[in-house]
Symmetry: C2
Subunit: 672 residues, 2 copies
Amino acid sequence: IASPSSADLKLQFAPFSSALEAGFWHQLTQKKLNDYRLDESPKCIKGYYYNGDPVGLPTRLNLEFSAFDVDGPTPARCSPAVGTLYNTNTLDSFKIIDKKALLEKEAREIWDSIQSGAAWKDPSTLCRFILLTFADLKKYHFYYWFCFPALCFPEGIKIVQPPSLLEQIFSAKQIAALQEAYDSLCMKRGTTALPYFLMKYTDDTVELASLGDGETFFTDTMMVTVGVYDPCTLSQHPGWPLRNLLVLLANQWGSKVDTVEVLCFRDRTLQGSRSIQHSIMFQVKLPELPNNSVCPKSVGWEKNKKGAMGPRMVNLSECMDPKRLAASSVDLNLKLMRWRLVPSLDLDKVVSTKCLLLGAGTLGCNVARTLMGWGVRHITFVDNAKISYSNPVRQPLYEFEDCLGGGKSKAMAAVDRLTKIFPGVNAEGYNMSIPMPGHPVNFSQATLSQAQKDVEQLEKLISEHDVVFLLMDTRESRWLPTVIAASKRKLVVNAALGFDTFVVMRHGLKKPPVSQSVSTGADSSPSSPGSSLFSNIPGHKLGCYFCNDVVAPGDSTRDRTLDQQCTVSRPGLAMIAGALAVEMMVSILQHSEGGYAVASSSEDRMNEPPTSLGLVPHQVLDHYEREGFSFLSKVFNSSHSFLEDLTGLTLLHQETQAAEVNHSLRYTHTNR
Amino acid sequence: IASPSSADLKLQFAPFSSALEAGFWHQLTQKKLNDYRLDESPKCIKGYYYNGDPVGLPTRLNLEFSAFDVDGPTPARCSPAVGTLYNTNTLDSFKIIDKKALLEKEAREIWDSIQSGAAWKDPSTLCRFILLTFADLKKYHFYYWFCFPALCFPEGIKIVQPPSLLEQIFSAKQIAALQEAYDSLCMKRGTTALPYFLMKYTDDTVELASLGDGETFFTDTMMVTVGVYDPCTLSQHPGWPLRNLLVLLANQWGSKVDTVEVLCFRDRTLQGSRSIQHSIMFQVKLPELPNNSVCPKSVGWEKNKKGAMGPRMVNLSECMDPKRLAASSVDLNLKLMRWRLVPSLDLDKVVSTKCLLLGAGTLGCNVARTLMGWGVRHITFVDNAKISYSNPVRQPLYEFEDCLGGGKSKAMAAVDRLTKIFPGVNAEGYNMSIPMPGHPVNFSQATLSQAQKDVEQLEKLISEHDVVFLLMDTRESRWLPTVIAASKRKLVVNAALGFDTFVVMRHGLKKPPVSQSVSTGADSSPSSPGSSLFSNIPGHKLGCYFCNDVVAPGDSTRDRTLDQQCTVSRPGLAMIAGALAVEMMVSILQHSEGGYAVASSSEDRMNEPPTSLGLVPHQVLDHYEREGFSFLSKVFNSSHSFLEDLTGLTLLHQETQAAEVNHSLRYTHTNR
């Protein structure tokens, strides 16, 4: 209760209590992350108050998620209050900001609108607020300080007739007439709540008008009655909104009006029926303003919960659903990139990308972790291995316990781990083999039909995803997904490890079949020789992992020694390659042409296959698209020579031997 | 039981059962990993057999962990058997190796030693074995096939007098005499088990001799008695060791000897007292060898558990302690590096390095994971933060659950996770703050003494470790550990992230204080200008993170916006920087001069601070070493200017402004 300077005869007002819903803070979080970023300039927001609360509730000014939609609707029967949000970038700014100056600035605006008469036309300016905030989005701690600026009469306001309940002053008839008059004025103004109104009444009638109509509405100006939509529930005190109205009246009417009768209009619904009887009425002597040209003193910063002048803090992390909290937090770091560093970053493009990870080993685990860091939600693993004891220290999705009892399936355990890291992820695992050239499937009808099922499953998976990562540990297991993904025009990112070398590359993304026939002439045009051979190759002309091979893929797992079976590499290498593979994917997604982006010269080493080799995969692709599984089963069951004959490598080998050229094989291959 | 070609009158031998203890396979694993690597050449190993087993046990040839120590002791009362190990690199080699040829080669050697008389002098060549193995060290599956080569008489061996227990043939007196004679011959030969011996007896006496003494020992050669240390427990059959002895006798004595009496010497201990009564004796007709110059047919490959000719497999992963299994498996990948790629790699140097990780955030987690991949066992975390919801997707030691209830301490949770990944790790966590310049500690005696404790704890931790990783998220928190580690001559590896840039560097490692005074002249000599300034800088002349700063570290956390508080970086970056930091440490450790290694030209960008800046840390170091905490507390409590005055940066700034030089600050700084 704000206390005036002198005792019992002065009017006291019940101040607003700020009521900030969790939805407000969530919306502020979004605004800060996505829109405001580092912008600290004042923002317009909208709250509301209600005059129907039951006795006992504080005089609340509510802000909820809708607060940032200033032009949006206000809840029915509530009165809007427009305010200014000052959201600081740091806690220090929040602390050291000049609160007195903020209040005085707002008070000056109210005073100006009173003096200019604008407030008389639009009294909403009388009920404004300031909200000072700092949002610690790492911890979900929100610091805030509310202010409801009120202009003060230096001597306070003298009570002429103390407050009484309306039902003690008005007859039932008058009450009914008031209710009808109020509703009708509201309807006329197209609202369900009028913050202020003028009132005339007799024993039988009640007449209401908007403030702007004041000059002609009253005939007797010695005592006038004004109504205020009053959020206060106390029987002896009006709420805060009346304060600036009285200053407006004093300024407007000056000495013309001596006593003002105030109706604090309270419009409760009790047991299903409407009741305005609990409204209160009283009379005050309208004070004179000392000097019209000087803005009166103002008050309004809210006390904190200890009753002292100071900010409040709400820790939303305690009451939020932890899973939702995790989801917002994951987005936080990503969105911060757009604040200063990469404002144009299209995060949605990254986050919504569906990634298929073929291989859930050293590379697969690291790729998945980096994808999670980028906020990618849809991750699918394919692997047929079980977790062995040597895996957890190098494959960062597995732990010792996953190795017990023969080891869990990698694809399944990887899914479990992703969910443990971030419950919001949409991960799936397929414990399946990828048929490979040189690994025959024609032992029996059963193995053949299993291979057919595996091919179909892989085709389905590749269709359902946007990016295919090749992260296996053999060369030949990359062949089938390379062919299928090329046929389905999916972006392929390929990573492979040596001991202290690695390759991370994207495969060329062929143009869609329709336009392809048109551009065939251009595609097959010979590239100019020399340095330009490797420069600025468009994405659809880039080759694949197999394009610069001179041996077709075959069974490389047979007869491998232990160090050839395991990926013997410097332990840091998989992390580097896995991270780069994902960063490359993100860079490609952010390029306006996506997978068709030109390989810039700095990337040449990474995208080495030149255009002249484009013919090799074409032949394979044609056969795959024409013959499907019957072609594939020939590849699986045959030795190297089948694919080598098909792609012309056999001929190449013969020519090379015949010519006995003194060039390296690759050089010959490149220029044939 | 080997069956001779004709029925009941022919002698049958109980073949050996191979008994390979887990210890043998573990030792083979170690040999394969550390010594043999890709070497498939035959290796000499040693097993043993025992003639004191109770009835019912098979005739076992034992191989345990000691098998690879051919010159080592044989268990007391056991007879050694030397063999040849063929350990193949691949399962395919194991399958396709020519077993017939292996057997024939061994048989030929036995035959040669019989013909040359070598076996007569050293009969151990009669009891050899072959062990063919393939060790799948990824799965701890061991494939093996035993062979005990035995030369065959084409017609078998005719029994003249079937086997009887010794106690049915010898009197108690004879038995006692035999026992005494045997023990005395053993003592004379310095052993507790003689595989073969010659024997003469009367009703009262028993006389024994070694094989080599055979020519003069017997006078009547129509029937001779020979003894064999017999591992068989069957009452009607001798064990395998007799087979080649009979061939030796047939070759040695030819038609001179018709009947041979055989004592299968079995030397049990029953209820605490020795018993040789269970030995058996029988007589056979010594067959003639068809043609002395041709090696007889041989047999010997062991049947598998199904009774068929084929290899056996033991899956050790099922019976091993999973934690020990994990430890071996982790070493596996590391040791494989030494097989082909880096034979000189000193893994012990890496594995035994004690690493102190200051910071358990994005970088700390990735560094720890890479260290685990390198087999580092001793990892200590220092961090004072709690895990927040945004961490798990970027900090790969934490999960969603670690964030609940306000979040676990990062240092402690990191330790828990490492233990879950690899139970053999020796990890510790310290939830503590690192005092920082410009973060005053002089608020009260309590905060001051806490800071002093923190400094002491940090000094202790740095003393106890070999390498200090600086992985914090502020510049000033790196200052104190930089100074302490420099003073204690510990290798410092520093990593820091930008948005798409990062730095990974080692700090210079000053020479020990004693030698320093001697080399001061050389240290302070001006480096030659131009390109050589950055080339081939010895490790002790390299600078530190702060060496090329022109502003002393101070409080950078105050008044930071959200994006400045969080490390806003491309998610893949921390993995790359963390991995490189560890790979750099490993490379330094592998260098013969360790931390004093010259920065080679390719590393120049990474180790940029030139020698001419070496004076700055010297000044700080001198003060720290002279004044200790009282100096430090001045630094913590002061603004930038204290350190800037001390290190001459203030003077530099003044000079720079005065001269108004048109150079960049760094250029000026470098050349001043």
